[in-house]
Protein backbone atom coordinates (compact mmCIF):
# COMPACT_ATOMS: atom_id res chain seq x y z
CA UNK A 1 0.00 0.00 0.00
CA UNK A 2 2.81 2.45 0.93
CA UNK A 3 4.62 1.98 -2.36
CA UNK A 4 1.55 2.98 -4.30
CA UNK A 5 0.56 5.93 -2.10
CA UNK A 6 1.66 8.91 -4.20
CA UNK A 7 0.01 11.51 -1.95
CA UNK A 8 2.70 11.17 0.78
CA UNK A 9 4.22 14.44 2.11
CA UNK A 10 7.80 13.71 1.19
CA UNK A 11 10.33 11.10 0.35
CA UNK A 12 13.64 10.32 2.02
CA UNK A 13 15.55 13.14 0.25
CA UNK A 14 13.16 15.80 1.61
CA UNK A 15 12.69 14.32 5.09
CA UNK A 16 16.30 14.53 6.29
CA UNK A 17 17.04 18.14 5.26
CA UNK A 18 13.72 19.23 6.72
CA UNK A 19 14.46 17.44 9.98
CA UNK A 20 17.98 18.93 10.11
CA UNK A 21 16.76 22.49 9.58
CA UNK A 22 14.01 22.14 12.17
CA UNK A 23 16.28 20.52 14.76
CA UNK A 24 19.06 23.04 14.07
CA UNK A 25 16.70 25.99 14.41
CA UNK A 26 15.19 24.63 17.59
CA UNK A 27 18.65 23.95 19.06
CA UNK A 28 19.72 27.48 18.14
CA UNK A 29 16.72 29.00 19.90
CA UNK A 30 17.09 26.84 23.00
CA UNK A 31 20.87 27.33 23.34
CA UNK A 32 20.73 31.10 22.80
CA UNK A 33 17.86 31.35 25.25
CA UNK A 34 19.76 29.36 27.88
CA UNK A 35 22.96 31.34 27.36
CA UNK A 36 21.15 34.66 27.54
CA UNK A 37 19.17 33.71 30.62
CA UNK A 38 22.41 32.60 32.30
CA UNK A 39 24.13 35.86 31.36
CA UNK A 40 21.15 37.93 32.50
CA UNK A 41 21.17 36.01 35.78
CA UNK A 42 24.86 36.75 36.24
CA UNK A 43 24.32 40.39 35.37
CA UNK A 44 21.47 40.57 37.85
CA UNK A 45 23.72 39.12 40.54
CA UNK A 46 26.47 41.57 39.52
CA UNK A 47 23.94 44.42 39.63
CA UNK A 48 22.89 43.45 43.15
CA UNK A 49 26.53 43.26 44.20
CA UNK A 50 27.13 46.62 42.53
CA UNK A 51 24.25 48.13 44.50
CA UNK A 52 25.69 46.60 47.65
CA UNK A 53 29.11 48.06 46.83
CA UNK A 54 27.58 51.51 46.20
CA UNK A 55 25.61 51.41 49.46
CA UNK A 56 28.66 50.21 51.38
CA UNK A 57 30.91 52.88 49.84
CA UNK A 58 28.39 55.58 50.76
CA UNK A 59 28.21 54.16 54.30
CA UNK A 60 32.01 54.18 54.55
CA UNK A 61 32.20 57.80 53.38
CA UNK A 62 29.48 58.79 55.87
CA UNK A 63 31.39 56.97 58.58
CA UNK A 64 34.60 58.79 57.68
CA UNK A 65 32.80 62.13 57.65
CA UNK A 66 31.25 61.40 61.03
CA UNK A 67 34.66 60.82 62.65
CA UNK A 68 35.90 64.21 61.49
CA UNK A 69 33.93 66.03 64.19
CA UNK A 70 35.75 69.26 65.02
CA UNK A 71 37.89 69.10 61.90
CA UNK A 72 36.62 69.89 58.43
CA UNK A 73 37.86 66.57 57.06
CA UNK A 74 39.06 63.33 58.65
CA UNK A 75 42.76 62.90 59.35
CA UNK A 76 44.84 59.91 58.28
CA UNK A 77 45.17 58.94 61.92
CA UNK A 78 41.44 59.06 62.57
CA UNK A 79 40.78 56.91 59.47
CA UNK A 80 43.24 54.28 60.72
CA UNK A 81 41.52 54.24 64.12
CA UNK A 82 37.96 54.18 62.76
CA UNK A 83 37.48 50.41 63.16
CA UNK A 84 36.57 50.19 59.50
CA UNK A 85 37.06 46.39 59.13
CA UNK A 86 34.30 45.62 61.62
CA UNK A 87 32.07 48.35 60.21
CA UNK A 88 32.44 47.15 56.61
CA UNK A 89 31.92 43.51 57.62
CA UNK A 90 28.56 44.44 59.14
CA UNK A 91 27.49 46.28 55.99
CA UNK A 92 28.65 43.56 53.58
CA UNK A 93 25.84 41.02 54.07
CA UNK A 94 28.18 37.97 53.92
CA UNK A 95 29.84 39.16 50.72
CA UNK A 96 33.62 39.26 50.58
CA UNK A 97 35.30 42.60 50.14
CA UNK A 98 38.56 44.44 49.65
CA UNK A 99 38.69 48.06 50.80
CA UNK A 100 41.52 50.39 49.90
CA UNK A 101 41.77 54.05 50.88
CA UNK A 102 44.71 55.87 49.36
CA UNK A 103 45.92 59.42 48.86
CA UNK A 104 45.95 60.22 45.17
CA UNK A 105 48.70 62.83 45.29
CA UNK A 106 51.90 61.53 43.75
CA UNK A 107 54.07 62.77 46.62
CA UNK A 108 51.84 61.42 49.41
CA UNK A 109 52.53 57.74 50.03
CA UNK A 110 49.65 56.92 52.30
CA UNK A 111 47.19 54.09 51.94
CA UNK A 112 45.30 51.70 54.11
CA UNK A 113 43.77 48.40 53.04
CA UNK A 114 41.44 45.81 54.51
CA UNK A 115 40.10 42.62 52.98
CA UNK A 116 38.09 39.63 54.04
CA UNK A 117 39.85 36.33 53.55
CA UNK A 118 38.22 34.09 50.99
CA UNK A 119 39.09 31.06 48.90
CA UNK A 120 37.54 29.50 45.86
CA UNK A 121 36.49 30.81 42.50
CA UNK A 122 34.79 34.20 42.28
CA UNK A 123 31.37 34.12 40.68
CA UNK A 124 30.15 37.72 40.83
CA UNK A 125 31.84 41.04 41.51
CA UNK A 126 30.93 44.64 42.26
CA UNK A 127 33.05 47.78 42.50
CA UNK A 128 32.53 51.23 43.96
CA UNK A 129 34.79 54.22 44.21
CA UNK A 130 34.36 57.48 46.08
CA UNK A 131 36.58 60.51 46.50
CA UNK A 132 37.00 62.20 49.85
CA UNK A 133 39.32 64.77 51.36
CA UNK A 134 41.58 63.83 54.25
CA UNK A 135 44.20 65.67 56.25
CA UNK A 136 47.76 64.40 56.57
CA UNK A 137 50.05 64.83 59.58
CA UNK A 138 51.27 68.24 58.45
CA UNK A 139 47.76 69.64 58.11
CA UNK A 140 47.55 69.51 54.32
CA UNK A 141 44.22 68.45 52.87
CA UNK A 142 44.61 65.78 50.17
CA UNK A 143 42.27 64.00 47.79
CA UNK A 144 41.82 60.35 48.75
CA UNK A 145 40.03 57.59 46.92
CA UNK A 146 37.95 54.93 48.63
CA UNK A 147 37.96 51.79 46.47
CA UNK A 148 35.72 48.91 47.39
CA UNK A 149 35.64 45.59 45.56
CA UNK A 150 32.88 43.16 46.56
CA UNK A 151 32.56 39.55 45.43
CA UNK A 152 30.85 36.28 46.15
CA UNK A 153 32.26 32.78 45.85
Amino acid sequence: MMRTDESGVAGFLEDLPTLMFVLGGAALLVSSGLWTSTRLGEQDADRKLQELADRAADAIVNRLESISAGDSVPTFGSIEKAALPQFVSEVMDKAHFSLNISALHSNAYWWISFHSGSTGPITNTGFASRMINAQDGSGLILVCEVRLVVWRN
Partner: protein
Protein backbone atom coordinates in the same frame (compact mmCIF):
# COMPACT_ATOMS: atom_id res chain seq x y z
CA UNK B 1 6.64 22.71 -6.23
CA UNK B 2 5.43 19.55 -4.56
CA UNK B 3 4.60 19.18 -0.90
CA UNK B 4 7.99 17.70 -0.06
CA UNK B 5 9.81 20.74 -1.38
CA UNK B 6 7.34 22.99 0.43
CA UNK B 7 8.22 21.25 3.70
CA UNK B 8 11.94 21.87 3.09
CA UNK B 9 11.22 25.49 2.23
CA UNK B 10 9.20 25.93 5.45
CA UNK B 11 12.04 24.40 7.44
CA UNK B 12 14.58 26.78 5.89
CA UNK B 13 12.35 29.76 6.69
CA UNK B 14 12.05 28.50 10.27
CA UNK B 15 15.84 28.13 10.49
CA UNK B 16 16.41 31.65 9.17
CA UNK B 17 13.87 32.99 11.67
CA UNK B 18 15.63 31.10 14.46
CA UNK B 19 18.96 32.72 13.52
CA UNK B 20 17.36 36.16 13.52
CA UNK B 21 15.64 35.68 16.88
CA UNK B 22 18.79 34.16 18.39
CA UNK B 23 20.91 37.13 17.33
CA UNK B 24 18.42 39.49 18.98
CA UNK B 25 18.39 37.37 22.16
CA UNK B 26 22.19 37.14 22.28
CA UNK B 27 22.52 40.93 21.94
CA UNK B 28 20.37 41.61 25.03
CA UNK B 29 23.05 41.28 27.78
CA UNK B 30 25.52 43.59 25.99
CA UNK B 31 23.28 46.68 26.00
CA UNK B 32 22.89 46.75 29.78
CA UNK B 33 26.66 46.79 30.41
CA UNK B 34 27.22 49.94 28.33
CA UNK B 35 24.63 51.98 30.20
CA UNK B 36 26.26 51.20 33.59
CA UNK B 37 29.68 52.49 32.47
CA UNK B 38 28.40 55.83 31.19
CA UNK B 39 26.65 56.48 34.52
CA UNK B 40 29.81 55.93 36.55
CA UNK B 41 31.86 58.67 34.89
CA UNK B 42 29.50 61.57 35.54
CA UNK B 43 29.30 60.75 39.24
CA UNK B 44 33.05 60.52 39.49
CA UNK B 45 33.60 63.86 37.74
CA UNK B 46 31.54 65.74 40.33
CA UNK B 47 33.36 64.01 43.21
CA UNK B 48 36.71 64.70 41.59
CA UNK B 49 36.01 68.41 41.13
CA UNK B 50 34.75 68.84 44.68
CA UNK B 51 37.67 66.93 46.16
CA UNK B 52 40.21 68.80 44.07
CA UNK B 53 38.88 72.26 44.92
CA UNK B 54 38.90 71.45 48.64
CA UNK B 55 42.46 70.10 48.69
CA UNK B 56 45.56 72.11 49.66
CA UNK B 57 48.12 73.22 47.10
CA UNK B 58 50.78 71.48 49.22
CA UNK B 59 53.68 73.87 48.56
CA UNK B 60 54.44 77.45 49.54
CA UNK B 61 54.50 79.49 46.34
CA UNK B 62 54.86 83.11 45.37
CA UNK B 63 52.57 84.60 42.78
CA UNK B 64 54.46 87.18 40.77
CA UNK B 65 52.07 90.11 40.51
CA UNK B 66 52.94 93.82 40.88
CA UNK B 67 53.16 93.08 44.59
CA UNK B 68 54.27 89.45 45.02
CA UNK B 69 51.71 87.36 46.90
CA UNK B 70 52.94 84.52 49.11
CA UNK B 71 50.50 81.61 49.18
CA UNK B 72 50.91 79.15 52.09
CA UNK B 73 50.90 75.43 51.38
CA UNK B 74 47.62 74.86 53.26
CA UNK B 75 45.64 77.21 51.02
CA UNK B 76 42.88 75.40 49.18
CA UNK B 77 42.79 75.25 45.41
CA UNK B 78 39.32 76.82 45.55
CA UNK B 79 40.75 79.95 47.23
CA UNK B 80 43.68 80.07 44.81
CA UNK B 81 41.39 79.82 41.80
CA UNK B 82 39.18 82.55 43.27
CA UNK B 83 42.19 84.90 43.47
CA UNK B 84 43.37 83.97 39.99
CA UNK B 85 39.87 84.21 38.55
CA UNK B 86 39.32 87.64 40.07
CA UNK B 87 42.65 88.82 38.68
CA UNK B 88 41.99 87.46 35.19
CA UNK B 89 38.44 88.80 35.29
CA UNK B 90 39.79 92.35 35.71
CA UNK B 91 41.96 91.90 32.61
CA UNK B 92 45.21 90.76 34.21
CA UNK B 93 47.64 88.35 32.55
CA UNK B 94 48.07 84.79 33.83
CA UNK B 95 51.90 84.81 33.57
CA UNK B 96 52.46 85.35 37.30
CA UNK B 97 50.24 82.38 38.14
CA UNK B 98 52.46 79.88 36.30
CA UNK B 99 53.72 78.02 39.41
CA UNK B 100 50.19 77.82 40.81
CA UNK B 101 48.78 76.53 37.54
CA UNK B 102 51.55 73.91 37.35
CA UNK B 103 50.64 72.66 40.82
CA UNK B 104 46.94 72.53 39.96
CA UNK B 105 47.66 70.63 36.74
CA UNK B 106 49.84 68.17 38.64
CA UNK B 107 47.13 67.52 41.21
CA UNK B 108 44.57 67.17 38.43
CA UNK B 109 46.68 64.51 36.70
CA UNK B 110 47.23 62.70 40.00
CA UNK B 111 43.55 62.57 40.87
CA UNK B 112 41.90 62.01 37.49
CA UNK B 113 41.24 58.45 36.30
CA UNK B 114 44.17 57.25 34.14
CA UNK B 115 41.95 56.53 31.16
CA UNK B 116 40.58 60.09 31.01
CA UNK B 117 42.17 63.42 30.16
CA UNK B 118 41.09 66.09 32.63
CA UNK B 119 40.65 69.74 31.69
CA UNK B 120 39.89 72.43 34.28
CA UNK B 121 38.44 75.72 33.11
CA UNK B 122 37.38 79.01 34.67
CA UNK B 123 34.46 80.54 32.82
CA UNK B 124 32.66 83.81 33.44
CA UNK B 125 28.99 83.55 32.56
CA UNK B 126 29.01 86.45 30.09
CA UNK B 127 31.93 85.22 28.01
CA UNK B 128 32.12 82.21 25.74
CA UNK B 129 35.93 81.87 25.97
CA UNK B 130 37.24 80.53 29.29
CA UNK B 131 39.31 82.89 31.43
CA UNK B 132 41.62 79.98 32.22
CA UNK B 133 41.95 76.48 30.76
CA UNK B 134 44.32 73.91 32.31
CA UNK B 135 46.15 72.42 30.52
CA UNK B 136 44.07 73.67 27.58
CA UNK B 137 40.49 73.63 26.37
CA UNK B 138 39.51 70.12 25.24
CA UNK B 139 39.82 69.55 21.49
CA UNK B 140 37.48 66.65 21.04
CA UNK B 141 34.20 67.35 22.77
CA UNK B 142 32.63 64.01 21.87
CA UNK B 143 32.21 61.35 24.57
CA UNK B 144 33.14 63.89 27.22
CA UNK B 145 31.93 64.04 30.80
CA UNK B 146 31.63 67.49 32.33
CA UNK B 147 30.67 68.93 35.68
CA UNK B 148 30.79 72.43 37.10
CA UNK B 149 30.46 74.40 40.29
CA UNK B 150 29.89 78.08 40.90
CA UNK B 151 32.45 80.20 42.72
CA UNK B 152 31.44 83.63 44.07
CA UNK B 153 34.15 86.28 44.11
CA UNK B 154 34.49 89.04 46.71
CA UNK B 155 32.80 91.59 44.45
CA UNK B 156 29.82 89.29 43.97
CA UNK B 157 30.78 88.11 40.48
CA UNK B 158 30.25 84.45 39.80
CA UNK B 159 32.74 82.21 38.02
CA UNK B 160 32.09 78.71 36.85
CA UNK B 161 34.75 76.11 37.54
CA UNK B 162 34.27 73.46 34.86
CA UNK B 163 35.89 70.03 34.81
CA UNK B 164 35.81 68.15 31.51
CA UNK B 165 36.91 64.52 31.29
CA UNK B 166 37.70 63.19 27.81
CA UNK B 167 38.81 59.65 26.88
CA UNK B 168 42.60 59.36 26.66
CA UNK B 169 44.28 58.29 23.48
CA UNK B 170 45.54 54.65 23.73
CA UNK B 171 49.23 55.67 23.63
CA UNK B 172 48.81 57.70 26.82
CA UNK B 173 47.44 54.77 28.79
CA UNK B 174 50.80 52.98 28.94
CA UNK B 175 52.51 55.86 30.70
CA UNK B 176 53.17 55.31 34.39
CA UNK B 177 51.17 57.63 36.56
CA UNK B 178 52.65 59.31 39.61
CA UNK B 179 49.85 57.92 41.74
CA UNK B 180 50.87 54.38 40.83
CA UNK B 181 54.44 54.76 42.11
CA UNK B 182 53.62 53.16 45.44
CA UNK B 183 53.04 49.89 43.59
CA UNK B 184 56.66 49.83 42.41
CA UNK B 185 59.36 48.00 44.41
CA UNK B 186 61.62 50.24 46.46
CA UNK B 187 59.04 52.91 47.23
CA UNK B 188 58.30 53.14 50.97
CA UNK B 189 54.92 51.95 52.17
CA UNK B 190 54.27 53.59 55.54
CA UNK B 191 50.66 52.45 55.79
CA UNK B 192 49.27 49.11 56.75
CA UNK B 193 47.27 46.27 55.32
CA UNK B 194 44.98 44.26 57.56
CA UNK B 195 43.22 40.93 57.16
CA UNK B 196 39.70 40.95 58.56
Amino acid sequence: MDEGQLAVFDAVVFFAGAILISSVILALPGHQTISNESCWNSVRAAELLDGLLSSSIGTNITIGLELPVIVPSRTSIRDCLAVEGAYLFTGGESDGFGPLNSIIMGLLEDCAPPFLDAHLMLVYRSFSEPLLALPHAPDDMSKRTATSTTMTLEDGSELLVVLVLCPSSPSELVQLRGADLHLLPGVPLPSKEVDV
